[in-house]
Amino acid sequence: SQKIEQNSEALNIQEGKTATLTCNYTNYSPAYLQWYRQDPGRGPVFLLLIRENEKEKRKERLKVTFDTTLKQSLFHITASQPADSATYLCALGGSWGKLQFGAGTQVVVTP
């Protein structure tokens, strides 16, 4: 069956360190992958998109990698800040037309 797996355990990290989140998938062949941020009681906000032919994308302190052989995307937040505390969702897109979201991983950055 098709699965998108993100760490269900919260990631607790100290301010200034790099947070690394994982998105693994099975039985999908995504053409692209998106990452969203969701704060409590709010809708998701788009952060980054990476296509299947791209290895890495960066945006300010964010970096995303996409390994179609490992069927995995890594999402990095460098020099993390308490304001980065939120839940981060990965979403897969492809020929099937609609985005499929993972359950998300909560990140807690402590000063």
Partner: protein, 116 residues
């Protein structure tokens, strides 16, 4: 630029009652989505509109859920009759691009439904 507007933000109803949610997408966005997000899960697509036509409603429980997008702008999502398992946040999103493209989605704040 105004974002995606949704109302009401919160709704509590008894099971078997009906409820309706309203969404106003970003001006000019052709594609509109309704997602259901159950606590602890990722958003699940219920229905996707391209202008005022339905592109995908494969995961919409059509025996109780209905949605329409009149004149290709605003949309309403209705649940009748509601069940306990419908307790969730209903997220509306819009995109300027056609369904199936790589475009980002712009989400509203969501409507939180509690069914007692």
């Amino acid at each position: 630029e105004a974002g995606v507007a949704q109302s009401p933000r919160y709704k509590i109803i008894e099971k078997r009652q009906s409820v309706a949610f309203w969404c106003n997408p970003i001006s000019g966005h052709a594609t509109l989505y309704w997602y259901q997000q159950i606590l602890g899960q990722g958003p699940k697509l219920l229905i996707q509109f391209q202008n005022n036509g339905v592109v995908d409603d494969s995961q919409l429980p059509k025996d109780r859920f209905s949605a329409e997008r009149l004149k290709g702008v605003d949309s309403t999502l209705k649940i009748q009759p509601a069940k306990l398992e419908d307790s969730a946040v209903y997220l509306c999103a819009s995109s300027p691009k056609a369904g199936g493209s790589t475009g980002e989605l712009f989400f509203g704040e969501g409507s939180r439904l509690t069914v007692l």
